[in-house]
């Protein structure tokens, strides 16, 4: 009874992970296999491969479940959570939550070719300079849209196996 009175209320972020975000977490992990980072992405062999989540965390603990003990080209895979852009030191895949879209355009243009694969669900992510966008199509399946030019500017080599499954973004 005393435990109940302490109200250990957890935010829903930990309590619920929908199928949609489980799938997206697996996609983020899969990107490590279909994208090549340039050598300057790592300062040393011991440096970990970082998947970062910026803004609220919709994945619960699922990213750790998926990527926990994995390695990417010999670098151990770690998941980091950031509240705002200034906290990001090194990161190889960055998932940007819709909630922090405001500063995104400035951030992305300040990247200056840093090799970070930027991913988001936000509907205008491509316009802001992002590389991969998740969207749900009318069959209720998770699909990908990709900006090849942004990927090239980030010096990332995307495997053709991934490219042919994504919708290519054409800037207007």
């Amino acid at each position: 009874m005393a435990v109940l009175l302490a109200w250990p209320v957890l935010s829903f972020a930990q309590a619920l992970v929908s199928v949609e975000y489980q799938l997206k977490a697996v996609f983020l992990f899969n990107f490590t296999r279909f994208v090549e980072w340039p050598p300057e992405a790592f300062t040393s062999d011991q440096e970990p491969f970082v998947i970062g989540v910026l803004g609220g965390n919709p994945f619960g603990s699922y990213l750790e479940d998926v990527g926990g003990n994995e390695k990417v080209n010999g670098h151990r895979l770690v998941i980091r959570y950031f509240n705002n852009y200034s906290e990001i030191k090194s990161c190889h895949i960055l998932y940007i939550n819709k909630t922090v879209m405001n500063e995104t355009r400035d951030f992305l243009s300040s990247m200056n070719g840093k090799p970070v694969l930027t991913v988001s669900d936000a509907s205008d992510f491509m316009k802001r300079g992002g590389i991969i966008r998740f969207y749900i199509n009318k069959d209720k399946k998770v699909q990908l849209e990709m900006n090849l030019d942004a990927a090239k500017a980030a010096k990332l080599q995307i495997s053709s196996k991934l490219i042919r499954l994504t919708e290519i973004y054409v800037p207007k």
Binding site: W7, F12, E20, L23, K141
Partner: protein, 667 residues
């Protein structure tokens, strides 16, 4: 075994974690703003389309990681409980009340919610009793509208259908409305999956898992008919094992009496205390363990000496689910339920107590490419005890059942045929057989045409069999039901469902005259009936802030006697049902913090019967609710039955115009 057999429907909510505070989780987040061009006020329609993006732990990370990119992009992001089927593809007449609909209604108690599905006929008999049925056969309003025996009702898989009279004691079914996830209302026989007594329909009340009801919730309300209502719930997560979630709740009601038409008090005031708990444990991605229980105690007709009634009950239920894949799962459930009812100061005091022990197992799996097989079995033991009127005073009523159903995909997913049957053995009539065939044709993504033929059975209750005893054994009632239906969603914001049915009832209960002097009449099965009707329901998101749902039902029947010994009152005893009913619910976000909800209902007149049973005239009702919410607090003002000072729905009590104010806080 409830919450998974009928497909989960969409509650217009994206359970996306960004929208993590429930009071802000409205349908607004799912539907984009739409300038409204056409104002549809006639066709009001419920069924909800988008299956919700529901949380599941059914996709273990290890398995998902092995899928190819193509496979990942081919997974439907829909609810994957027992059936990953959209509501619109279901081959039956199902309507659903979502938690959103519940929040926007004026209801304070579970039975009041059932006016929100047009395929249910609901009539309030007095301050604490309701006559609720689907597809007719709300019978004579004796002793509080209890003669409605063709509907199976379950709460989280626990049957609340009473073997005493074959119906539901609605006065003690008080689920905490805030924690109800949805109420699935299936009209039409559900004998194959649900068992005996699901002759005309099944109501399945599903509460949220404790994982979804975290935090503190407090509410209080008071009004003129509702004297007070208070509820509190605490949901938390174990620190010792973070896979364990739980909640406990308590609620108290106190409601005043209704009045007879003469103005005299019906002396049916009552109060009730109820509490309970639920624990959900997710030890791995594929397993769920649930344990839940409730207890209640109530005092009804407090200001009457003769009809005063004490009720109490306790129940505990455990359920284990193991998911093998999105096409295969196993569920094991067991529960114990005890109910007790006593009229201490009546002329002849009456006591009835019932203990129910139940065990059910259910397994679903795929056979080859085209077959999805669901089978299972169960054992239930009901033992009751009374002090008079029934012979024997105590009965042990075991029921054994097995069932199997195969869903066959023909013609590449466009045509699905479901064939199945339940076999059960009961203590009154022995072996019973309830087969069913359904066909569903989905020519396009947003429409489904379906048809079904089923047989269902109502096994005798103690009332049928043990009150007026004779040499003639009471048989089970049988129904053959033929149904046709059509679901469509012509535009994203609109869903419509139509269903037509024809039922033939055999061995329907009758009250027969006898030549005996000791028992001048008996209950037996000398009536037959045919009923037919049409159900229409829909849901329309008029614009982002405004949703409409509602429907219309037509019902008619013909009941006739098989022998001249049948007393004419037998017809009204089985069925006093209105022909036309319709209902419409409007939910409008006036501003970001202010909501205005309306529920309008019309019920056709019901002609009276012999022995001066009066006609019940037609009536319109309207409930209105104005709610202001901000952060975790909501204050609402509610008016019920606003159109008339009072009216009769069934029985002798008038239902008055009522108001209450309610405040809820969520932390």
């Amino acid at each position: 075994m409830a919450d998974n057999l009928t497909p989960t429907q969409g509650s217009n909510r994206n359970r996306n974690v960004e929208n993590n505070f429930r009071s802000e989780r409205t349908w607004r987040t799912v539907f984009p703003y739409n300038p409204f061009i056409i104002f549809l006020f006639l066709a009001l329609v419920p069924a909800i389309l988008e299956a919700q993006v529901e949380d599941t732990l059914l996709l273990p990370a290890e398995r998902l990681k092995k899928l190819s990119l193509e496979d990942l992009m081919n997974i439907e992001v829909v609810s994957v409980s027992m059936r990953a089927e959209k509501l619109s593809e279901v081959a039956s007449a199902i309507q659903v009340i979502t938690d959103n609909d519940i929040a926007h209604s004026a209801a304070t108690r579970l039975p009041e919610l059932l006016k929100l599905t047009p395929n249910i006929q609901m009539a309030q008999a007095n301050s604490h009793d309701w006559a609720i049925t689907a597809r007719g056969f709300n019978g004579l309003p004796s002793a509080g509208g209890i003669v409605a025996n063709k509907l199976l009702v379950m709460i989280d898989g626990r049957s609340v259908y009473s073997p005493l009279f074959g119906g539901v004691f609605w006065d003690v079914q008080n689920v905490m409305l805030e924690d109800v996830d949805k109420i699935e209302v299936v009209s039409g026989p559900g004998g194959t999956l649900w068992g005996a007594n699901a002759v005309n329909g099944v109501i399945n009340v599903v509460t949220k898992s404790s994982r979804e009801t975290q935090g503190l919730y407090v509410s209080g309300a008071s009004g003129n008919l509702l004297n007070d209502m208070a509820a509190v719930r605490i949901g938390a997560r174990s620190r010792v094992d973070t896979n364990l979630y739980y909640r406990i709740y308590a609620q108290h009601f106190d409601q005043n009496s209704t009045l007879f038409q003469s103005g005299a008090s019906a002396r049916d005031a009552w109060d009730m205390v109820q509490g309970g708990f639920r624990m959900d444990y997710y030890p791995s991605k594929a397993n769920i363990l649930t344990l839940q229980g409730d207890f209640y105690g109530g005092d009804e007709n407090k200001d009457s000496l003769l009809t005063r009634q004490i009720t109490n009950g306790q129940n505990v239920l455990g359920r284990f689910t193991h998911v093998f894949s999105d096409k295969s799962d196993l569920k094991i459930q067991a529960y114990y339920d005890r109910t007790y009812r006593l009229q201490p100061t009546a002329v002849a005091p009456f006591l009835y107590s019932l203990n129910t022990y139940d065990l059910d197992i259910q397994h679903r799996f795929s056979l080859g490419e085209r077959n999805s097989i669901l089978y299972g079995g169960g054992y239930r033991l009901e033992e009751d005890n009374t002090n008079r009127s029934l012979t024997p005073l105590s009965r042990e009523m075991p029921v054994y059942n097995v069932f199997i159903q195969d869903e066959i995909a023909l013609f590449a997913q466009k045509l699905k045929m479901t064939v199945g049957s339940k076999f059960l053995n009961n203590v009154f009539t022995g072996f019973e057989f309830q087969p069913c065939v359904r066909l569903a044709w989905t020519p396009g993504k947003s429409q489904t045409l379906w048809a079904s033929v089923s047989r269902a059975v109502r096994t005798p209750s103690r009332f049928d069999s043990d009150i007026l005893t004779s040499d003639v054994k009471f048989q089970s009632e049988k129904v053959m039901a033929y149904e046709l239906g059509y679901h469509l969603s012509p535009v994203k914001q609109l869903t419509l469902s139509f269903a037509a049915f024809f039922n033939h009832y055999n061995q329907l209960r009758s009250i027969d005259q006898t030549t005996s002097t000791t028992t001048p009449f008996i209950f037996t099965n000398d009536q037959r009936a045919e009923s037919w009707g049409f159900e229409f329901s829909g849901n329309y998101q008029v614009m982002e802030q405004w949703r409409l749902r509602g429907g219309y039902t037509y019902f008619d029947r013909n009941i006739w006697a098989v022998t001249p010994a049948v007393l004419p009152i037998s017809v009204a005893f089985e069925s006093m049902d209105p022909k036309n009913t319709w209902m419409i619910q409007s939910m409008l976000d006036v501003t970001r913090s202010l909501t205005f909800d309306l529920v309008g209902r019309y019920v056709d007149p019901v002609p009276g019967a012999q022995y001066s049973i009066p006609d019940v005239p037609a009536y319109y009702t309207c409930d209105a609710r104005l709610a202001w919410h901000r952060k975790g607090i909501e204050i609402s003002l509610v008016g019920q039955n606003l159109l008339q000072e009072s009216h009769i729905e069934t029985g002798r009590s008038t239902i008055p115009r009522a108001f209450y104010a309610k405040i809820t806080c969520k932390f």
